[in-house]
């Protein structure tokens, strides 16, 4: 019971973190058709900027400055780099952002070194939110989840209830028409790209203080985020929320389970035979928790190639 509740909480907070990063990715793709390979690098950039700023000006300053800077970087990329390759098609946009991801990773290694940095939450956030079954549950995990939920509430309000939101949604559906109606679509695109990047930056700034902050964090999270959008269906916010939570929960449960294929065969009396094969058969679920998302993706591809909420290609 303890395991079930703790894992569910961990899974949901991790899922919300995933959604914070994948939401921007999916929003940008839905509007511009650009799959930003460097999106997870924005997440990493957010963590490192927050680390650098917070070591001089305190944690909260870092938390505010990081998304702003990352958002500006995102806008510059959208304004000055992407249009240059646009004419050569989406593959070249993908390649360009792929190169940018590499550059960001190497720049971070250049400035901060190829090892984890000591980015920590402030002591006044380091306490137990509550105690379940004798275990303290860290408040900071809830803080990550709460930040994500607050952000989405804000975004939703912006999109659904304001004039800007209407223009953005119009630009997503019919960019040419929205432009013909006198809206400045290039600025809208730049703004959305910036907000998406800032969201990833904020996620990095918040999560970096809890999870390790190192030059691999962009790639590690990036791959999972890509799995999220394939599973959820690119361009669908609902789909990526569902997939984020699904993968968050799957990962957090699998960490604590020592199930194996051999155990499964044991249920039907083939346990010894499976044990004797070894390899994949005796591999415990907990040791392959990093693999679970990819397996999930392959299953979704087989069953529903368009993703959970996606339209057919």
């Amino acid at each position: 019971m303890e395991f079930v509740i703790i894992s569910a909480l961990n899974g949901v907070t991790y899922g919300l973190l995933l959604f914070m990063v994948s939401a921007g990715l999916t929003l940008i793709f839905g509007m511009m058709g650009v799959l930003n390979f460097a999106h997870a690098s924005f997440y990493m950039l957010g963590a490192y900027i927050a680390y650098a700023v917070s070591s001089y000006f305190g944690f909260w300053t870092g938390l505010i400055v990081a998304p702003v800077i990352v958002g500006i970087v995102g806008m510059l990329v959208e304004r000055y780099l992407l249009p240059r390759v646009h004419a050569h098609g989406h593959a070249h946009e993908l390649l360009l952002t792929f190169g940018l991801a590499m550059i960001i990773e190497e720049l971070i290694k250049l400035f901060f070194g190829d090892f984890p940095v000591n980015y920590q939450m402030p002591d006044n956030l380091r306490f137990a939110a509550f105690t379940v079954f004798g275990t303290d549950y860290p408040f900071y995990r809830l803080f990550i989840g709460a930040t994500a939920i607050t952000m989405f509430a804000l975004l939703w309000f912006l999109l659904a209830r304001t004039r800007i939101g209407i223009v953005v949604r119009a630009a997503e559906r019919l960019p040419a028409m929205a432009e013909a109606l006198g809206h400045n679509i290039p600025v809208v695109f730049m703004g959305v790209f910036g907000v998406g990047a800032a969201l990833a930056g904020l996620a990095g700034a918040v999560a970096g203080a809890f999870y390790p902050t190192n030059p691999n964090m962009g790639l590690e999270l990036g791959v999972i985020v890509f799995v999220v959008v394939v599973v959820g269906g690119l361009g669908s916010l609902k789909g990526s929320l569902l997939a984020s939570l699904l993968i968050g929960l799957f990962s957090s449960y699998s960490v604590g389970l020592d199930w194996s294929l051999a155990g499964l065969f044991g249920l039907v009396g083939l346990g010894d035979w499976a044990q004797s094969i070894g390899g994949l058969m005796t591999l415990e679920l907990s040791s392959v928790s990093a693999t679970i998302p990819f397996a999930l993706m392959l299953i979704v591809l087989l069953v529903r190639p368009a993703g959970l909420m996606g339209e057919r290609n």
């Binding site: 799959l35 190169g99 940018l100």
Partner: protein
Amino acid sequence: MTNMRNILLIAAVLVALVAVPPFLGLGWQNALVNILIASLFALAFNLLSGQAGLLSFGHAAYFGMGAFATLHLMLAIEDGLSFPTPLLPLAGAAMGLLIGVVAGFFATMRSGVYFALVTLAIAELFHSLTPHLQGFFGGESGISSMRMPWQGFVFGTVLEVYYLTLFWVVLSVMALWAYTRTPFGRLTLALRDNEQRVRFLGYNAHTSKVIIFAVSAMFSGVAGGLQAISNETANYALFSSHISAQVVLQTFVGGATIFFGPVVGAVSFTLFAYLVSDLTRSWLFYQGLIFVLVMLFAPTGIGGVVQHHLRNVRRDDWLLLAGPYALAATGGVLIAGAVIYLTETVAVLFGEEYAVQIRNAEGSLPAYEMFGAWWEPFGIATWLVPVVLLAAGGAILVKSRGNILKCWEKMGREVGEGAHEPAAPGVAK
């Protein structure tokens, strides 16, 4: 005429590849082995990503599986299996083909950017799973073996390994070249252009794409097998995203639209890595920078730019262009110098050694050594150098860009895509 020239060129390269290595040192022989393997890997990758237009970010999976399969065959030979050592890469080919069929079946269910994401995830699947599999992959430490003698060949020297590699690479490149001439090779190009129409001409697009994927994976497996033979060891790091990223970089910097373009990229990157990676730990940063610049200013890659000029410029025009081009190159060199200067400065100032020096100097910033000279962190000269280089290089580039455009206009040729000097930033409008 062009054909004859190409054949002569290829023959000359082949003769050099056979005749020169015995006179080179061990380091160079090793570097050549790596260059050959990288070239084959890039060509195999380009079959899928350049010719069929299916961008893969996870080709390390097939390269790595080829290496592991080959090592297992080597282990079996150690245990007494009689299998001719020179045929070892066949194991890599078979494994690459097998994994390619399975992975390709999944990946080609989606197209466009989804395809790229799925290939990336498949490679990460291997990367995250293999350290936990003791039997086939040897866990985190991997597996090792030894090259066993066969007939008169001992395969004890790098030179022998080099010739074995050369044989397989030349054979594979010939096969890949022949592939482009077959009906299926033409279909591959058609799929890149317009998959929907291919379907309405009676082709099963999914099956076709799976076959292309598998062939590409097969030759990647050969490259991986050759690597295994050369290194006599393999571990799960072979599946890392850096390997997948390298082949993307090399292929697109070299030029994906030309058959031998990826070789240009693979040769230059591997060669530079051999020459400078000891000197600077910023090498990967430079690689990324070069890649992004090529994507921005010469999307068809080095090969594309060269081909464009060969096709369009007759000999007379070269006289006209030589001046401005030389000028542009000078500007490019100056800016490159400034970028390298700044990067290396950052590498020193933010490096671990310097952090120790700061601590020893009790907080003040001591002078540091770079490019054989001493620099003061707050010295005027230290920061004047890059500023002057950047300003001069930028000015020259802007000027020469105008001149080059004028020359082209005079020659009545459209200033088309990929025709720009693949030079440097600062030329952008």
